[in-house]
C-alpha cells in the first residue's frame, strides 16, 4: 500500500514537473505568437526581430551540417538564393499553390542542389570542401544573374515579394511577415531538434568525431554525409525564401553573395557549434552590431572622423576586432557563455536558500 502510494506520489511529482515544462513552452509560444506581434513596434519587427529570426534559422541550417556532421560549407547563401528564386517562380508560375507547399518545394529544390554540391564530400574532407561549396556560391550567383528566366525577365534582375497570404490571411504587414517567419522558424527548430536527437543526428556526430570508427561500427558514411547536405540545404532554402520575401521584400542574385555566406558562418562560430539556440545569439550579434555601432557613432558625435564611407570602414574594423575577440575569448561561442552564467546563477541561488 505504502509502496504504491510512494509510486503515485513520485508519478505525481514527475507529471507536475513535466506539466511545468509544458506550461513554460506554452507560455513561450504565447509570448512569441501573441505578445511580440502585438507589443513590438513595426520598426522592431521589420529591422531587428525578423532578420534575427531568419539569420538564426540560417545559422541552424549550417550548424546541422558543420556543428553536428562536421562538414564544411562556405556557400550557404547559394542555397538560400535557390530557395528564394524557386519560391518566386513557383508563386509566379503556379499561383494555385498554398504558401506552405511553396516553402516545402523551394526547400526541396535547394536540398537537391545541396546533394549535388555535397557529392565531392564522399571523396574529399575537411577544408578542401570549401572549394566545392564556394563553387556553388559563385555558380548560382552567376546562374541567377545571367539567366533572366529566373527573374521573369525583369530588367533589374530583381525578384519582388509576391503577395504573401495564407488561408485568406494577408501577411504583408510587419506583424504578418513576423508571424510567417516565427511559424516557419518554430516548425524548423522542432524538426532540427528531432533530427539531432534521432539516430541520424547521433550518427552525424559519430562521423564528425571519428569517421573511421563510425564506418567500422557500420554507419553508412556516404549516405549520411549526403543527407547532411540535403537537410542543411533544405533548411537554407526555406531560410532564403524568408530572407528574400518576409524580410527584404525584394532581392536579387547578389543579395545572397559571399558576404552573406560568411555571415552565416560567423553566426555558427559566434553562437557556438552544435547548439540550436546559440544560433539566435549569433544572429542577434550579426544583426545588432551594425545598428549599435551606428547608434554609438551618432550618440558620441564621432562624425568629425569623416564621411559616411569612412564610418562604414570604421565599422568594418570594429566588427572584425569583435569577431577575433570572441574567437579568442569564447571558443565555444556565446551559447557557452550563457550556459556558464545560468549555472553560476543557479549555484548562487542554491547557496542563498
Amino acid at each position: 500500500m505504502s509502496v504504491s502510494n510512494n509510486v503515485l506520489a513520485e508519478a505525481a511529482a514527475i507529471s507536475s514537473k513535466s506539466n511545468l515544462r509544458i506550461l513554460a513552452v506554452i507560455a513561450g509560444l504565447l509570448v512569441l505568437f501573441v505578445a511580440v506581434p502585438l507589443g513590438a513596434s513595426d520598426y522592431w519587427l521589420s529591422s531587428i526581430i525578423i532578420p534575427t529570426l531568419v539569420m538564426g534559422l540560417a545559422g541552424i541550417s549550417l550548424n546541422l551540417l558543420m556543428g553536428y556532421a562536421g562538414l564544411v560549407s562556405l556557400g550557404s547563401a547559394a542555397f538560400m538564393s535557390i530557395g528564394a528564386f524557386s519560391a518566386y517562380n513557383l508563386i509566379l508560375r503556379a499561383p494555385f499553390l498554398p504558401l506552405p507547399v511553396v516553402l516545402l518545394v523551394s526547400g526541396l529544390v535547394a536540398a537537391a542542389a545541396g546533394v549535388v554540391f555535397g557529392l565531392p564530400a564522399l571523396r574529399i574532407k575537411g577544408f578542401y570542401l570549401g572549394a566545392s561549396t564556394l563553387g556553388a556560391q559563385f555558380f548560382f550567383e552567376w546562374v541567377f544573374s545571367n539567366f533572366t528566366w529566373f527573374s521573369n525577365d525583369s530588367q533589374s534582375l530583381t525578384i519582388s515579394a509576391p503577395r504573401l497570404a495564407f488561408l485568406g490571411w494577408d501577411l504583408q504587414s510587419p506583424a504578418g511577415r513576423y508571424l510567417l517567419a516565427i511559424s516557419v522558424t518554430t516548425a524548423l527548430i522542432g524538426l532540427a531538434f528531432l533530427i539531432v536527437k534521432s539516430r541520424l543526428g547521433r550518427e552525424w556526430m559519430a562521423i564528425r568525431d571519428m569517421d573511421t570508427a563510425a564506418s567500422v561500427i557500420g554507419i553508412r558514411i556516404a549516405r549520411r554525409k549526403l543527407q547532411a547536405y540535403a537537410i542543411s540545404s533544405f533548411f537554407l532554402g526555406v531560410t532564403g525564401v524568408l530572407w528574400g520575401f518576409a524580410y527584404l521584400g525584394t532581392s536579387d542574385a547578389h543579395t545572397f553573395n559571399l558576404d552573406k555566406s560568411f555571415q552565416v558562418l560567423f553566426i555558427v562560430l559566434i553562437g557556438g557549434t552544435a547548439t540550436i539556440f546559440g544560433n539566435f545569439l549569433g544572429a542577434a550579434f550579426i544583426v545588432l552590431t551594425p545598428i549599435l555601432l551606428d547608434r554609438i557613432v551618432l550618440a558620441a558625435n564621432l562624425s568629425f572622423l569623416g564621411d559616411q564611407g569612412a564610418l562604414t570602414n570604421l565599422q568594418r574594423v570594429i566588427f572584425g576586432v569583435i569577431i577575433i575577440l570572441i574567437l579568442i575569448k569564447e571558443p565555444d561561442g556565446l551559447a557557452a557563455l550563457i550556459r556558464r552564467a545560468t549555472t553560476a546563477i543557479g549555484k548562487w541561488k542554491r547557496g542563498a536558500t
Binding site: P120, G135, I328
Partner: protein, 293 residues
C-alpha cells in the same frame, strides 16, 4: 590557332600572377597551418600604402622600403594579437580569425588611406611585342621574370638558410621543432613578414594592371582553386596551379562562355579544382595525403 595560342598565353600570364598571390598563402600555411583569408587584404594594404607614398613624391625604392616596413609591422602585430592567443586551435577557428582580420585590414586601410581608385605606374610599358605571330605584352614578360626571380629567391632561402630550414622543420612537425629550440613566435613573425612582402610584389604587379582599389583584395578568391590544384604546401605547386587555373579560365571564357551566355570565369576555377580533387585529393604537389575513409 593563333587566337587560341594568344588566349592561352594571356591566361598563362594571368595565372602566374595568381600563383604569386598563392605563394603568400603557401608560406603561411606551411608555417602555421592557417588558410589565411587576409592575404588579399594584405595585397590591398601593401599596394595602397605604396601608391599613396609615390603619389606624394616618394621615390620608388624608398616607398618600397617603407611599405616593407609597414608589412613587417603588420606581421608582428598579427602574430602578437591574433596568432599567439589562438595557437593550438582548430583550423576552422583560425580561418575565421583571418576572415575577421581581413575586415580589420581592409577597413583600416580604407579608413586611413581613402577609397579612391589609384593608377599605379611602376615604369614598365604595357606594349605588345610580336613573338612569332603571337602578341605578348612587355609588361607580362617583365612581370613573369619578377615572379620567377621571387620564386628562385624563396627557394634558395628555404633550402639554404637557417631560417628556411627552421621553417621547414616547423612545417614538418611543430612539436619536434619546438623541442629542439625553434621559437615558433619568431618563425611566425618572419613568415608573415615574408608573406607581406610577397603581397607587396603582387600588389604592385596587379595594381599596375588594374589600378589600386578594393577589388585587389578579392584576389584571395582566385588563390583558393590555385592552391587546391597545386597543393597547399608547395611553392612550385602554387605556380603550376596558377598557370593551370589561368590558362583554363581564359580558354573557358572564350570557348565555353559564349555557349552558356556569359563569362564563366567567376566559378570555372572552382569546378575545375573540385574535379582535380576528385582525382588527386592532395593536389599536384601536395605532400600530405588527405586521409580517406
Amino acid at each position: 590557332m593563333g587566337y587560341f595560342l594568344e588566349t592561352l598565353t594571356t591566361g598563362l600570364f594571368a595565372g602566374l600572377m595568381y600563383g604569386l598571390v598563392a605563394i603568400g598563402f603557401v608560406l603561411i600555411y606551411k608555417a602555421s597551418g592557417v588558410f589565411n583569408f587576409a592575404q588579399g587584404a594584405m595585397v590591398f594594404l601593401a599596394a595602397l600604402t605604396f601608391v599613396t607614398l609615390t603619389e606624394r613624391g616618394t621615390s620608388f625604392w624608398i616607398a618600397f622600403a617603407i611599405t616593407c616596413g609597414v608589412m613587417i609591422a603588420t606581421a608582428v602585430a598579427i602574430e602578437a594579437l591574433v596568432l599567439r592567443p589562438l595557437r593550438n586551435r582548430d583550423p576552422l577557428t583560425l580561418f575565421m580569425a583571418t576572415l575577421g582580420l581581413s575586415f580589420v585590414i581592409e577597413g583600416a586601410t580604407q579608413f586611413f588611406l581613402g577609397t579612391d581608385v589609384h593608377m599605379l605606374d611602376i615604369g614598365i610599358d604595357d606594349i605588345a611585342t610580336d613573338f612569332g605571330g603571337i602578341l605578348i605584352s612587355q609588361f607580362d614578360i617583365v612581370a613573369s621574370l619578377i615572379v620567377i626571380g621571387l620564386v628562385v629567391v624563396l627557394a634558395i632561402v628555404f633550402s639554404k638558410t637557417r631560417m628556411g630550414i627552421s621553417l621547414r622543420a616547423v612545417a614538418d612537425d611543430t612539436l619536434a621543432a619546438q623541442s629542439i629550440g625553434i621559437r615558433l613566435p619568431q618563425i611566425w613573425r618572419i613568415v608573415w613578414s615574408v608573406a607581406g612582402i610577397v603581397a607587396l610584389v603582387a600588389g604592385l604587379l596587379w595594381g599596375a594592371r588594374q589600378g589600386v582599389q578594393y577589388s585587389l583584395s578579392l584576389i584571395t578568391l582566385k588563390a583558393l582553386p590555385v592552391l587546391i590544384i597545386g597543393g597547399f604546401s608547395s611553392i612550385p605547386g602554387a605556380i603550376v596551379g596558377g598557370l593551370i587555373v589561368g590558362a583554363a579560365e581564359s580558354l573557358a571564357d572564350i570557348y565555353i562562355g559564349p555557349l552558356v551566355g556569359g563569362s564563366v570565369s567567376t566559378w570555372f576555377a572552382y569546378i575545375l579544382a573540385v574535379a582535380f580533387l576528385l582525382v588527386r585529393p592532395a593536389g599536384l604537389f601536395g605532400d600530405r595525403a588527405i586521409e580517406r575513409v
